[in-house]
């Protein structure tokens, strides 16, 4: 890099600190609120420093739920969200890597037709076909079930394309060497291709886990029973229309809990996350 003046770096540092404060402030406020008394918050007399009700609020949030209603405890919602995120991530990776393997490493009739059939789904998010999909899920008896929550969200092409791209870069000689070494298609996949795809799978998993965890519109429609709610749906239902009835510390604790897993994934697995994000959008 060019040019380093003595105080040249002061302004960048300053601007970045402003940026970080900007993104962090709402979350800090949520955490602070989750440790305070509801009455103080409702009166608009909230302190900007953490209160002393941390354990009380989080215990209540996780295991009891809001008092005014029959809502499920957030622990159940976290469990549902986790199951959904895992199922979407694992399911998408599994069906995608298999179909990409078929498309790249075999010649069969309608191969290109199948490729385009999958490719076109890249363009249309579930939101644009939401009610017809809902109707089909209802017809198939999938309402209020984990399969109903996950299957329609597994139907997309990004992961297939990513694996296809990756497989195309694997040298042909590796397959030929495997054939001479006596490995058939199943063995080649299991012994060579799958281990080579490890990083890609991990990166994709990180992205898909976040994607699944943060789903909102589809779970909103497909779940009606309280014990099937994901945390994103639960938090919305906690905000009642009249401010007085909203238990803000619990809502904010739920918000913090809802953020925690995906944010932790991003921070801890930052390298994989960045790689996954850049690769899937490419």
């Amino acid at each position: 890099m060019v040019e380093r003046r003595r105080f040249g770096n002061l302004i960048p540092h300053l601007i970045l600190w402003v940026g970080i404060a900007l993104v962090a402030f709402p979350v800090y406020l949520a955490f602070v609120a989750s440790t305070q008394d509801n009455a103080a918050i409702a009166n608009g007399q909230m302190s900007l420093l953490p209160g002393d009700l941390f354990f009380e609020t989080y215990y209540k949030t996780l295991f009891v739920g809001t008092s005014g209603s029959t809502r499920e405890p957030v622990g159940t919602m976290l469990f549902n969200s986790f199951v959904m995120a895992m199922a979407i991530a694992v399911g998408k990776i599994a069906i995608s890597i298999l179909s990409a393997y078929a498309i790249v490493y075999f010649r069969f009739r309608f191969r290109m037709a199948v490729f385009w059939l999958i490719f076109i789904t890249l363009m249309l998010p579930v939101e644009v076909r939401i009610y017809p999909t809902y109707k089909i899920a209802a017809d198939l008896n999938l309402l209020d079930s984990y399969s109903g929550l996950t299957l329609p969200l597994i139907a997309s092409a990004t992961a297939t394309l990513l694996f296809r791209q990756f497989f195309m870069t694997v040298p042909d000689e590796l397959l030929e060497a495997s054939r001479i070494d006596g490995a058939g298609p199943v063995r080649f996949f299991k012994d060579t291709l799958l281990p080579l795809s490890r990083t890609n799978i991990a990166a994709l998993f990180v992205i898909l886990f976040i994607y699944g965890w943060n789903q909102y519109l589809w779970p909103l429609l497909i779940t009606t029973r309280d014990d099937m709610q994901t945390i994103q749906i639960g938090i919305r239902k906690m905000i009642t229309t009249s401010d007085a009835l909203t238990e803000w510390p619990v809502v904010m604790a739920t918000a913090v809990l809802a953020m925690l897993p995906p944010v932790a994934v991003v921070v801890v697995m930052q390298k994989l996350f960045v790689r996954g994000l850049v690769e899937t959008e490419k």
């Binding site: 075999f106 363009m123 198939l140 909102y216 959008e281």
Partner: protein, 293 residues
Amino acid sequence: MQKQAVFQSRLLPLLLIAPQVAIVLVFFYWPAAQAVWQSFLLQDAFGLSTTFIWFENYQDLLRDPDYFNSVVRTFVFSAAIAVCSLSLALLFAVMADKPLRGATAYRTLMIWPYAVAPPVVGVLWVFMLNPSLGVLAQGLRNLGFDWNPLLDGNQAAALVILASVWKQISYNFLFFLAGLQAIPSSVIEAAAIDGARPVRRFWTIVFPLLSPTIFFLIVINVVYAFFDTFGIIDTMTRGGPAKATETLVYKVYLDGLLGGNLGGSAAQSVILMAIVIALTAIQFRFVERKVTY
């Protein structure tokens, strides 16, 4: 592009593609086809009889001032969100691209909001800007500003845009930073030797080299504003007050929730699909993509 070395087998590849093809057909093509088909039908109030009416649903929709307003609103939202979050993200990314002490920590601290779900974003901002108890709302009130997004449509729209921008900064930041780091330092050094001062260097060298990234992000941000704002709107304003934050997707959702006009709902979905396909096509057409299909 094709592999030269392949396996010979008839049955195995079909077994391998079967799960994905099945899911795509059942949960993608079937509903999409139904949406298109229904958009040509008129169903009576009890769902007892249906008539094929060609494009009448679309004509009704385009004549409906509510729908027209929603289209305009969605595009205004998209533009506002894209412009604000892109410029802020670019500013932060340019700063973070400098050889600073703690550069990686800055990056981590900037990108994590990507992982916050839209409804949570909505809840966070609603809490800060709630007219009666929000910390920021009180500040605004003290400044003499009459803040009440529950009644004032423009303020509600600003609230939604603000929260959406907040969430989108991290994503744009990440891609801008990657784009900046991909610019070879020798090019910048050459510009410095040619006598370009830092600001001029940015606008004449860095910004043009970054334009593919910018274009890509514009498309992505518009798509984001179309779809991912749903969770934010639903937790913040539920489309109100008086439809002031009712975007196209939110309108599809509300109209569907009320039931009633199935054909009209379907037509809305089809128009949305067309918009997304157009955006994707634009992206394929103009952005240099490394992917070869």
